[in-house]
Symmetry: C2
Subunit: 304 residues, 2 copies
């Protein structure tokens, strides 16, 4: 939770683990306690509150403020969170998917703030996305647009519950690690082996990125592959939506240049000149605060 | 050219071949003569004219009514067509890409009229697209969005000037014919051979479709492959934009069920259940009139 000013600055923060609250009712009481703590920290607000915004990890009907389902949080199916927050705190309340909220934060106050058309994506355990089109978050017909992780890079590729060849099946955290471990097990030379003292269970995207930064050939290959998979989807999205920029966040994006340098190069190789000249790829700027700031932006009616 | 009423009905038509006019000035005079002919046919209009809309085969800045370039029509680079039409005929004038205009026609008066979120695609010599998002044609940052033919179905696929694995490289008219001829040359059994009396230069998508309708296994395979390639892109677009429907036009789409039956099946196979349940795939309804009607819709300010 956070108190966010209308310039996007977080002036107070509070956190509690949702799973420790047993369902929506207890969660609401924990939010109420958190709110009291936040306002003890801030003191009275000069301009009052615009409202409450929330980002949740799952499927939401934005217009109705209704959570369909949070796949990783039991007990949150069919919850009218917007109504609950509105009634409990007597102010406007908005609920959206967590990635949409991060996209809104980055596109309102972060790397995408200068743009009217931008696509946000998170590279982490999963691959998620949010679309800023005509200066508004675009949610599609049923609030679920932006599932960029399921865009296919190979019609005969890796099968999943979402189809075949979805980007996430190649560049999710686990997939990057598995690909690396497999290479090492097959005897590829790499400083990664030393970095984890021979314990391949300790390989993480961060370790691989550090090796790549040190010039490790195998680690660079891994990031080159990740970059090319992501570039394939960004090229497809560029042809389809022609945004001005891609803003890339999430853990894997924190790898920095070892990801972004090949990503920009491969994207340009995959686009005709006019499209290549008119697209930017940049890292997200707000880090973990993107969600808090973006949720606040919902209530501030920024870019929506 | 056509005169279109605000209910989408074309009440008069006129045609002339653009290449026979030597550049924009002569073209404008031909339009003026065409206009006179049209109004001789209609008589005086009760409600007067809302304006002029034009769809052109190439790259357009919609906001400025400026043609960047028409790749297949020499002499049409940097032409301010909107301004030319406005000044010559003293009424509002709008210029857009031909596929956007067809999309607008289908989504306003054709198969997509019931939807607020629909994606139109043409399957013909090329593969083009237009996006109806939130009940408006979405043109992207620089008016070039909707290039669905360049969305990749295989990151290591067929190279082109637009990248690798673009849909058009698999399902364009010529590619469908080439794939079929190749199979026949390699000795595949098929009634197509008889249908063209052994002259493989006469194979067309229409001939292949007719053979598929008659139950020819090889022809069905060809359409099964085309359907699966298209389904791959439609699945990706569904995850990205979550439209309510796809409206499919163009010559190849006139194949009817031999295309649409496998296309719908493959699309559903490539989507998770929730997405699969909430998407329609339908043939375009307006045929060749889609462009005329859609261009008129520009001037009628329908869905834009």
């Amino acid at each position: 939770m956070g108190v966010v000013k209308d310039d996007g600055v977080v002036i107070a923060e509070h956190a509690f683990p949702t799973p420790e609250t047993r369902g929506p009712e207890e969660w609401l009481e924990a939010v109420a306690r958190g709110k009291d703590e936040l306002f003890e920290a801030t003191g009275p607000l000069e301009q009052g509150m615009a409202g409450i915004g929330a980002g949740v990890p799952g499927f939401v009907d934005f217009g109705r403020g209704l959570i369909y389902n949070l796949p990783n949080v039991p007990g949150w199916r069919g919850v009218p969170m917007g109504k609950m927050l509105r009634e409990r705190f007597d102010m406007p309340a908005f609920v959206d998917n967590d990635v949409n909220v991060m996209a809104l934060g980055e596109c309102t106050y972060g790397s995408g703030r200068a743009y009217e058309h931008a696509v946000f994506l998170t590279l982490g355990t999963g691959v998620g996305g949010g679309l800023l089109l005509d200066n508004k978050i675009y949610r599609g017909a049923y609030s679920l647009a932006g599932e960029i992780g399921h865009v296919s890079i190979d019609m005969n590729g890796i099968p999943s519950a979402q189809g075949r060849g979805g980007l996430e099946e190649y560049v999710g955290n686990r997939q990057i690690v598995a690909r690396t471990v497999q290479g090492l097990e097959h005897g590829r030379e790499s400083s990664i082996r030393d970095a984890v003292a021979g314990d391949l269970g300790k390989v993480t995207p961060k370790v691989i990125a550090e090796a790549a930064r040190q010039g490790d050939t195998f680690a660079e290959e891994i990031f080159g592959f990740v970059a090319d998979c992501v570039a394939t989807v960004l090229a497809s999205v560029t042809y389809l939506l022609q945004p001005q920029a891609f803003v890339v966040g999430g853990g894997v994006a924190q790898s920095g240049d070892v990801l972004f340098v090949p990503l920009r190069r491969r994207l340009k190789e995959r686009l005709s000149p006019y499209f290549a000249e008119n697209i930017e790829v940049m890292p997200a700027a707000l880090g973990n605060a993107a969600g808090t700031i973006g949720a606040a932006a919902l209530a501030l009616h920024a870019k929506q």
